[in-house]
């Protein structure tokens, strides 16, 4: 549906190379195309703007204007810069779940994929890392949310905290903690109800859960098809609850996934995993190269 950055730039530079040398003005034109490509990939405007400025510096430094394939050169600079931002400065290492029982808190907007991701991760931790995992649903809002997690638990052979109707999320979290300690679990995962980042009451409730269990990891689960709102969501969840990592779901779709860049830039937190389908195995670790190529339509 949308042109790749290479296509856009080849249009710009094909015209120019015929005229010989490129001017700074030509580079500016190219960068405008970079900006449009990022915006069409759903990178947030503010993030796209900063990103283009950073690329401009690099492009000038590497004298794109003297290159014989300026279009390719710009694409490479953009790609490398994307990879570098998406990767971050330091290796985030493994999930911090060594001290048993380690709580993992899952948060995010309605329908982003928290419950599914909770189960996928639990399965992964069980099978790959040999952890004993307990899952608990703190979702007292959405109809049949607790049953959903319970059914998934049964499917993947991971224990779920027995459902007690009428308990509030903090009480459930505490019960999960107790059960995890007594039951000798390595990890307990807390799936929460979807909430808007501007819903003060529900955000405070998530903060109360956090205070009750001190999660080792708080993962923000975000739909990979998210548009410009990604920055608002990331900022608010990080400010009010504090996130340690991000999971991008629905990356099996044909979206460009520009939200990945926005999330990374705004929170500075690593993107840990990507969801690639509805099945319980459809989760992979985040690969910056792959997402960078996708944002650029490569």
């Amino acid at each position: 549906m949308f042109e790749s950055l290479s296509d856009r730039l080849s249009g710009v530079f094909d015209r120019l190379t015929k005229q010989g040398a490129l001017s700074d003005e030509d580079v500016k034109t190219a960068l405008r195309e970079v900006r449009v490509a990022l915006l069409e990939a759903d990178v947030s405007l503010a993030v796209a703007r900063d990103f283009v400025a950073a690329v401009q510096d690099k492009a000038t430094g590497q004298s794109v204007t003297k290159s014989i394939t300026p279009g390719q050169q710009v694409v490479k600079i953009v790609h490398d810069e994307l990879v570098s931002v998406l990767t971050g400065d330091s290796d985030p290492g493994k999930l911090k779940i060594d001290n048993a029982p380690a709580p993992i808190l899952m948060v995010g907007l309605q329908g982003s994929g928290k419950t599914t991701t909770t189960a996928k991760l639990a399965k992964r931790l069980t099978e790959r890392d040999g952890k004993r995992v307990l899952m608990a649903s703190l979702d007292v809002n959405r109809p049949a949310a607790m049953e959903q997690l319970e059914i998934l638990g049964r499917q993947i052979g991971v224990d779920t905290l027995p459902i007690v109707k009428g308990e509030d999320p903090v009480a459930i979290a505490k019960r999960a903690k107790t059960q995890a300690s007594l039951g000798g679990y390595d990890v307990y995962m807390l799936d929460t109800a979807g909430r808007l980042h501007i819903d003060q009451e529900l955000i405070a409730q998530a903060a109360a859960v956090r205070d009750a269990v001190n999660p080792r990891e708080t993962l923000l689960v975000v739909d990979g098809l998210t548009g410009q709102d990604a920055v608002n969501v990331a900022t608010e969840f990080d400010d009010k609850i504090g996130v340690s990592g991000v999971v991008l779901t629905r990356m099996d779709g044909d979206g460009r996934g520009g939200a990945a860049l926005s999330m990374r830039k705004v929170t500075g937190k690593p993107i840990r995993f990507v969801g690639l389908g509805e099945k319980m195995d459809a989760i992979e670790t985040f690969e910056a190269e792959r997402i960078a190529g996708r944002i650029l339509g490569m």
Binding site: L109, I151, D252, G253, D254
Partner: protein, 282 residues
């Protein structure tokens, strides 16, 4: 209010305001160009500029703001489709309640036979709305459930049959084929059905909504849109691009998780929210 000249810099800022609503670059450019026509160099106040912008957007949206049509034919079959987690099941609960209150007899079919507890979720919505829900065990062919639901709705003389479907990404050909099979089977019972096929879009979705509409429309003859989650900070600007490109009616918007949180689509209110909120321009 202080006035300033409508120049290129100002237009660029307006464009950015629109892009931040997910309108997309192309549509944002077109909308700002339209309001600039004949006005370049004129001195305008920020409220005046915003009024112009909102006016232009509601002009584009006016023709697509249409409630879901109700037909004399019964049962009127409403198929609800969309990508995962967009709000299909919740919207069915809300719609069922609205139609019930309007005195219609309604039946719901739990056509998501895939996702864990999808049926239980819909049953709770059916209880809330006071509407019976037809179910089949997890793993049942959704087309055969739809067929049975058609039979029952016809036998019961129901006014409306609302059919929920599993979420599916539009690039998943196998799942899209499953959807077209559901439509084929429904048409065996009534060649005019489904009378409405509603595509449910999540307001936080960016430019992928264009691909969602294009492909779901091709496969399932989408007749109208519902946009959910407009109670958040996402402004749903992609609807403007969609109106521009496809012209499909927008029947309703979701503004919360409660049963009454479904509102008609109001183009003026939408345009004001889109241009207003974070619009420091000057």
């Amino acid at each position: 209010a202080p006035r300033r000249e409508l120049d290129d810099a100002m237009l660029e800022r307006l464009e950015e305001l629109l892009i931040q609503s997910d309108m997309g670059v192309e549509t944002a450019l077109r909308v700002t160009a339209n309001i600039a026509e004949g006005r370049m160099g004129r001195k305008l106040s920020v409220p005046e500029i915003k009024d112009l912008l909102a006016g232009e957007i509601s002009r584009i949206m006016e023709p697509v703001a249409r409630p879901m049509p109700i037909y004399a034919k019964t049962p009127q079959v409403v198929l609800v489709v969309g990508v995962n987690g967009s709000g299909k099941t919740t919207t069915i609960g809300k719609l069922a309640s609205q139609f019930r209150e309007a005195g219609k007899s309604v039946v719901i079919a739990a056509g998501d036979t895939f996702r864990a507890a999808a049926v239980e979720q819909l049953q709770i919505w059916g209880d809330r709305a006071g509407v019976p829900v037809m179910t089949a065990p997890q793993g049942t062919d959704p087309a055969s459930l739809a067929y049975d639901a058609m039979t029952k709705a016809q036998a019961d003389g129901a006014d409306l049959l609302l059919i929920d479907t599993a979420g599916r990404l539009q690039n998943r050909q196998d799942l899209m084929e499953e959807l077209s099979k559901i439509v084929r089977v429904i048409r065996k019972k009534d060649p005019d059905a489904p009378h409405n096929t509603l595509l449910v879009l999540d307001a936080t979705t960016g430019q992928n909504a264009l691909s969602q509409v294009e492909i779901f429309r091709n496969i399932a003859d989408v007749s109208g849109l519902v946009m959910t989650k407009l109670d958040g900070t996402a402004r749903g600007g992609v609807l403007v691009a969609l109106a521009d490109r496809f012209g499909l009616p927008i029947h309703a918007i979701g503004v919360g998780e409660q049963i009454d949180d479904l509102a008609p689509f109001d183009p003026e209110e939408f345009a004001r929210a889109l241009t207003g909120a974070e619009g420091e321009l000057a």
